[in-house]
């Protein structure tokens, strides 16, 4: 009982201090606390993980001078791909560490759970790593921003490009959980709308180490295109086995969600000629190259779209705080939604009322070993997909926020 009283007193003092600080500087706690929750150790940790932490640190270092005398803190944790860990960590950060913004890393399930907590506590939640389009549809909130990409954009990019280049009949190899299902569905819609057909699909359990059996089924379907509606290690192992069993001789593979790290792990010999959709690539222009070089010096590998997105999202948030003169969530959200985003990640990016950050996406083709001049020189840009074509139009969203 006594302890509780002491704790309450301390908390009250803290609140009072925080409040007075906020009055003078308009920053709660007189500092900005950024929480970053992602997969730090498991199958998605190369595409985001520790590299994402480094990217956010870079953003903080670049923005710090705009907040003289204030501290910008970063707290981060590993959600281990478990939604309950993600949501309880986010709750703890907001309640106890005074987190002002949450940056959400990989895994759609954890993102949906964290976004809910952040909205309930009225804190901006910027999702980078998650793919599910539910974040800006049925599960949208006034505080969610879906920043880098989503399943709709992936389908619009790779799906329509492959149908246009003659791949009319499709068979899907799908990861048997929410993400895979929605990627398969979104891509099927695009394929059918473009005049293609879907011959069939096989649902493989997540983390199935051997894909040969599923690939033989795909081969027997006689479809022209094998759409890989999976990610990470599952994609890597399916592509390896497809080469081994000669599936690549009769079918063309379309990786629906692939990152530069996957190509690096597989090598160009195995992946040459594949199409994929990406929101960012290090070798797009001088800005991207300059930033990627800084990242490479720290991490000894080139950044993925997600890591670049982490940097950009934190910069965007801090710029909005600076412009609004406060870290009050509603003011910052309004500021972010009315300011176009122009940095090394996005040119003319805009955040729609439903939280979708609309920016150009890129249809890439993997280079052949002969075309690749330097390490990490893996993609050629086949087509720039304008943001309003890549992402679902605001009118079509199931989100009711206007």
């Amino acid at each position: 009982m006594k302890l509780k009283k002491v704790a309450a007193a301390v908390a009250a003092c803290g609140l009072a201090l925080g409040f007075s600080g906020a009055q003078a500087q308009k920053l709660s706690g007189d500092k900005i606390v950024i929480g970053f929750i992602t997969d730090m150790s498991s199958l998605y940790s190369d595409i985001d993980g520790p590299g994402g932490v480094e990217a956010i640190r870079m953003a903080i270092a670049d923005m710090e001078k705009q907040f003289p005398g204030k501290k910008i803190e970063l707290v981060y944790a590993d959600h281990q791909n478990k939604a309950d860990i993600a949501s309880s960590k986010v709750r703890e950060w907001i309640d106890q560490s005074g987190a002002d913004v949450i940056i959400g890393g990989t895994n759609s399930a954890t993102a949906l759970a964290s976004a809910k907590v952040a909205a309930e506590k009225k804190r901006p939640y910027i999702s980078i790593g998650a793919a599910t389009s539910r974040l800006t549809n049925e599960d949208c909130t006034p505080y969610t921003v879906h920043y880098a990409y989503d399943t709709v954009a992936l389908a619009n990019g790779t799906g329509s490009a492959v149908v246009k280049s003659g791949g009319k009949s499709w068979f899907f190899l799908t990861a048997d959980y929410a993400f895979g299902h929605s990627l398969e569905k979104d891509t099927s819609d695009v394929v059918k709308a473009a005049g293609g057909t879907v011959v069939g699909a096989v649902r493989a359990p997540l983390n199935a180490s051997d894909f040969s059996s599923f690939l033989l089924q795909a081969q027997n379907s006689k479809a022209q295109i094998l759409g890989l509606a999976n990610a990470g290690g599952d994609t890597i192992n399916s592509i390896k086995a497809a080469n081994e069993f000669g599936v690549t001789k009769t079918m063309k593979l379309a990786g629906l969600l692939m990152f530069i790290n996957d190509i690096h792990a597989l090598g160009l010999k195995t992946t040459e000629g594949m199409y994929l959709t990406d929101g960012w690539y290090w070798d797009l222009n001088n800005d991207t190259r300059a930033w990627a070089k800084r990242f490479f010096e720290k991490m000894k590998r080139m950044p993925s779209m997600l890591q670049a997105g982490d940097y950009s999202a934190v910069s965007t948030y801090l710029t909005a705080v600076k412009a609004a003169g406060t870290d009050d969530a509603d003011a910052v959200m309004a500021q972010m939604k009315k300011t176009p985003i122009n940095d090394m990640f996005a040119k003319g990016g805009k955040i729609l009322p439903n939280g979708r950050m609309v920016h150009d996406m890129y249809l890439m083709q993997v280079k052949s070993p002969a075309e690749s001049k330097t390490p990490w020189d893996y993609f050629k840009v086949v087509q720039t997909i304008p943001g309003d074509v890549a992402f679902a139009p605001p009118g079509g969203s199931k989100c009711t926020l206007k």
Binding site: S41, S42, D46, I47, D176, R203, S212, Q217, F245
Partner: protein, 295 residues
């Protein structure tokens, strides 16, 4: 075309072969576990991590020292075995008198350490390892295209498994090993160095895991978590076969690989669960496992 349950016979036949390939890995890994459990009474949870170590050693050999696949097929298991011997001498040895649970906890902790160590260096996306020159390409069997390397995996693992079974069940050395587990004091009285034998047995058991790891390197992505995805299934195999039964673990490993293969055709969503379903049924009917002896 002839059909069975609406599936062409040729498709079933190809799934049977693929099942055998996967079953070979289950057999080799569960055999190592069975040998270790049978002779040491240790539930070696680190088996998956040691399998991964075998694969990574193969990759390291090729990448850093230019040592080819065939040499690493021998060297990597030896290195893994040596690591196992050190672990047994320094750590496991002190736990024999305690409950099984302590051995399990220790090896589980080791797994986390080993995986974390390699993860901090290589990340999780994986390291590319090509199929050795001599085994590239595939053979058209008429009903399917069989990559030569996968056929080699089945042959190599059968040879190793049957060899191990023969040594333990049919030779004098094997007899001493079995005697050592039955009654260590009495066996020592005959002048047999039982502690040394136990150490070497553990080394051999984990070397089998290392061997399986090298075999898997060209097929699966070499990465620090590759063992943890597999080890749970392998434990189920051991339980179904009967803890400690040598022949049981080989046959169950191959059999379950095949059953899993068929499940992938008839109801792919259940292919990761079917092994555990069978485990539950077997435990209800025969608690000691298919080939285990009731104690």
């Amino acid at each position: 075309m002839t059909e069975l349950f609406g599936i062409p016979l040729s498709a079933l036949l190809s799934q049977l072969l693929l099942g055998l390939v996967n079953g070979s890995f289950y057999a080799m890994l569960s055999l190592g576990l069975a040998v270790i459990f049978g002779l040491l009474n240790v539930i070696n949870f680190a088996h998956g991590a040691l399998y991964m170590m075998g694969a990574i050693f193969a990759w390291m050999g090729l990448t850093y020292f230019g040592i080819n696949y065939w040499v690493m097929l021998i060297v990597a298991p030896l290195l893994v075995g040596l690591f196992g011997i050190i672990v047994e001498r320094l750590l496991l040895r002190h736990l024999y008198k305690l409950d099984h649970l302590y051995g399990l906890l220790l090896t589980f902790g080791l797994t986390l350490l080993i995986e974390g160590f390699f993860r901090s260096f290589y990340g999780v996306s994986g390291l590319p390892y090509q199929v050795p020159e001599a085994l590239t390409g595939a053979t058209n069997l008429g009903f399917m295209i069989m990559p030569n390397y996968r056929a080699w995996v089945v042959v190599a693992s059968l040879v190793v498994c049957l060899g191990t079974w023969y040594v333990i069940e049919r030779t004098k050395l094997g007899a001493l090993l079995r005697a050592g587990t039955e009654n260590a004091k009495l066996t020592e009285a005959f002048g047999v160095n039982v502690p040394l034998m136990v150490t070497l047995t553990y080394g051999f058991g984990v070397a089998l895991a290392g061997f399986a790891g090298v075999l898997a390197a060209p097929i699966l992505q070499v990465q620090p978590l590759m063992g943890s995805n597999l080890i749970i299934v392998v434990f189920a195999v051991v339980v179904i076969g009967g803890m400690g039964s040598i022949l049981g673990s080989i046959l169950t490993g191959l059999g379950l690989g095949v059953i899993e293969g068929f499940t992938k055709v008839f109801y792919p969503e259940a292919s990761s669960t079917v092994v555990f379903l069978i485990m539950a049924i077997v435990l209800l009917i025969r608690p000691a496992g298919l080939f285990g002896k009731e104690k």
